[in-house]
C-alpha cells in the first residue's frame, strides 16, 4: 500500500533521514520505534509532504507521492495525527472535527463518520462548543484522532499518540487504534512506548539516527535481546 524507497530528508544541510526503506501492506499495523531525535516524526512528515525528500521515492497505492503537496496526499487517504496533537486551541471542538473533513464533499458519508467518531469518543460530544485548548491532554488526543478519522483515512499515521497520557488513558487509546484498524484502516504508529506499540502491531521498524536498523515481526522484536535492552528497558 505504502512504500518508501531510499528516502533521504534533510533540515538545511543536516540529514535527518538516510536512505530509509519502509513497506506497509493493506490492513496492517506497523510501528516505528526509536529514541528521541531518531527521525520518526521526520519519516511521517516526509510521507505527508510537509517535508520534501532530497532523494528516493514514496509510492502510495501505486502512485508516486514523494513530491506532491500535503493536500493532495491527504486527498488520497494518507492522514497524519501529528505529534503533540496540534489541535487548533482557539477553535471549538466541533470546528476542529469539521476541519478534518475539509476536503470531502460526500455529505451523507461525512455525517456517518461524524456519528462514528462521536460514538468512539463520547467525551468529545459533551464538549463541542468548548475551545479545543481547554480540553485535557487526553481529550485533546481523542480530538486529534477524531479529526484525523474525519479525513476518511486509508492509511493513518499516528505520531506518539500516548505521549503525556496517564497509563489508563494509554490503554484506551491503544484499544481505539486496534478498533480503527479492525474497521479497515491501515496504521503506521510511531511510539516511544515500545512495548505497547509492539503488542498491537503486526510488524515493527527500529530507527536509529536517521536509518532503519532493524525490521521484523512485532512478536520477534518483543523477544529480541538488543531491542529488549534498548527499548523495552529489560
Amino acid at each position: 500500500m505504502l512504500e518508501l524507497k531510499n528516502i533521504s530528508t534533510r533540515y538545511g544541510n543536516i540529514y535527518a533521514l538516510d536512505r530509509v526503506n519502509i513497506k506497509i501492506k493493506k490492513k496492517e499495523i506497523v510501528t516505528i520505534i526509536g529514541a528521541n531525535g531518531a527521525g520518526k516524526s521526520t519519516i511521517l512528515n516526509t510521507i505527508s509532504g510537509i517535508l520534501k525528500p532530497v532523494n528516493g521515492t514514496i509510492f502510495f497505492e501505486g502512485e508516486c507521492i514523494s513530491l506532491k503537496e500535503t493536500d493532495f496526499i491527504v486527498s488520497k487517504g494518507v492522514v497524519q495525527v501529528p505529534e503533540g496533537r496540534q489541535i487548533f486551541p482557539h477553535l471549538t471542538v466541533l470546528e476542529n472535527i469539521k476541519l478534518g473533513a475539509y476536503l470531502r464533499k460526500d455529505k451523507t458519508e461525512i455525517n456517518r463518520d461524524f456519528d462514528y467518531v462521536t460514538t468512539l469518543f463520547p467525551r468529545l460530544k459533551e464538549r463541542f462548543k468548548q475551545a479545543g485548548g481547554t480540553l485535557s491532554g487526553g481529550e485533546q488526543q481523542m480530538l486529534a484522532i477524531a479529526r484525523g478519522l474525519m479525513s476518511k483515512p486509508k492509511l493513518l499515521l499516528l505520531d506518539e499518540p500516548s505521549l503525556g497520557l496517564a497509563p489508563i488513558f494509554v490503554r484506551s487509546i491503544f484499544d481505539i487504534i486496534k478498533e480503527i484498524n479492525k474497521n479497515g484502516v491501515t496504521i503506521l504508529l510511531v511510539e516511544q512506548n515500545a512495548r505497547m506499540a509492539l503488542s498491537i502491531a503486526d510488524r515493527g521498524y527500529i530507527v536509529e539516527t536517521g536509518h532503519i536498523k532493524l525490521e521484523a515481526k512485532a512478536k520477534d522484536l518483543l523477544t529480541d535481546d538488543s531491542v529488549r535492552e534498548a527499548y523495552l528497558g529489560i
Binding site: 503537496e69 500535503t70 491527504v74 496540534q86 486551541p89 482557539h90 470546528e95 469539521k98 476541519l99 485548548g133
Partner: protein
Amino acid sequence: MFETIVHQLLNGLIVGSIYALIALGYTMVYGILRLINFAHGEIFVVGAFAGLLATMIFGDSFIIAIIFASITSVLLGLFVERVAYRPLRDSKTSTIVFSAVGLFAIVFVAFLSQNTIFDLLTSILFWLGVLFLVAIILWLVRSKSYLKSRSSNSRINALISAIAMGIVISNMIALIKGPDREVYPKLIPEVMFNVFGITVSLLQLFIISFSFVLMVILYIVVNKTKVGLAMRAVSYNLVAAKLMGINPDKIISFTFAIGSLLAAIAGVLVGTYYNIVDINVGMMYGLKAFIAAVLGGIGSIPGAVIGGVILGVVEVMGVAFISPSYRDAIAFGILIFILIVKPTGLFGSNTKEKI
C-alpha cells in the same frame, strides 16, 4: 455646539469607516502570514482610480465603479501575493536572485516615473523612512507576542519585498497617471435629510451603512463559512492546517482578494466623498489604516474595525477642536502612545499560542 459635535462625530465615523475597511486588509493578511502588506495602500489607490476610469467609460454609476474597482484591485492584490510574497514562502526560490530582481524592478520603475534624480532619491528616502518606522513597530510588537514563530530571516525578506512592491506600484501609478489630482464624480445622489435638526447627506449615511454591511458580511465569511474556518486554521497553525488537507496558498490568495476588495470599495467611497483623488493619498490612507490596525491589535478583525473608527473620530475631533494642522500628528501620536502602553493593541492577544 451640540450640533457641531454631532456633525464632527458623523464625519469621524465616515473617515473611521474608510480606515476600517482598509485596515481589515492589513490585519487579515497579517493574521495569516504575519506580514505587513505594504502594497495595500497602493491597492486602495488603484481601486479609486479604476473606479474613476470606469465612470469615464461607462458613465457615473456607483455600481459599475465599484465592480470595476474591485476587479482591478483584486487582480492586483493576487498579483502582488503571487509575485512578491509567494516566492519567499517557497524554499526553492533563491532569495538573492529574488531580491535582485525586486531591486531592479524598483529602480527601473522609480527611474521612469520620476522627473529628476532628486525626486527619485526623495521617493526612496521616504520609503526607507517607512521601512525604519515599521521595523521599530514590528520589533515592539514582536517583543510581546507571537511573531517569533518563523525564522526572522525570511520575515525580513518578506518585509523588504512588501515595501518594494509598494514602491513599484506607487511609481507605476505615477507613471501611468502623472502625479495629478483628479476630480471624482458624485456617484450617490445629493439628498439631504434633517434628523433632529442635524443635516445629514444620503452619501454620509450610505458610506457608514455600506461599510457596516461589508463588515458584517466579512464577519460571517470568517466565522461561519468553511473557507473562513480554513483561514482561521491557517493563521493559527500552518502545518496542522496542511495536514487537514487545506492548501494554504489558496487560502492566502483568498485573503488577499478579500482585503483588496474592501480596499477598492474604500477607494471609490473616498473618491466620491471628497470629489477628488490624488495618488499621494494612497500612502497616507494606507499608513493611517495601518495605524488603525495596530491600534486595534494587528491580526484582530474586530480590532481593525474599532481601531479605524477610534482613529477617524479622534482625528476629526482634533482637527475641529484643536487645529487642522494636527491631523497627522494625532494619528502618529496615537500610534506612539499605543506602542508604549500596549504594543499588542486593544484586541491583540497577549497570550502565546500554545502550539
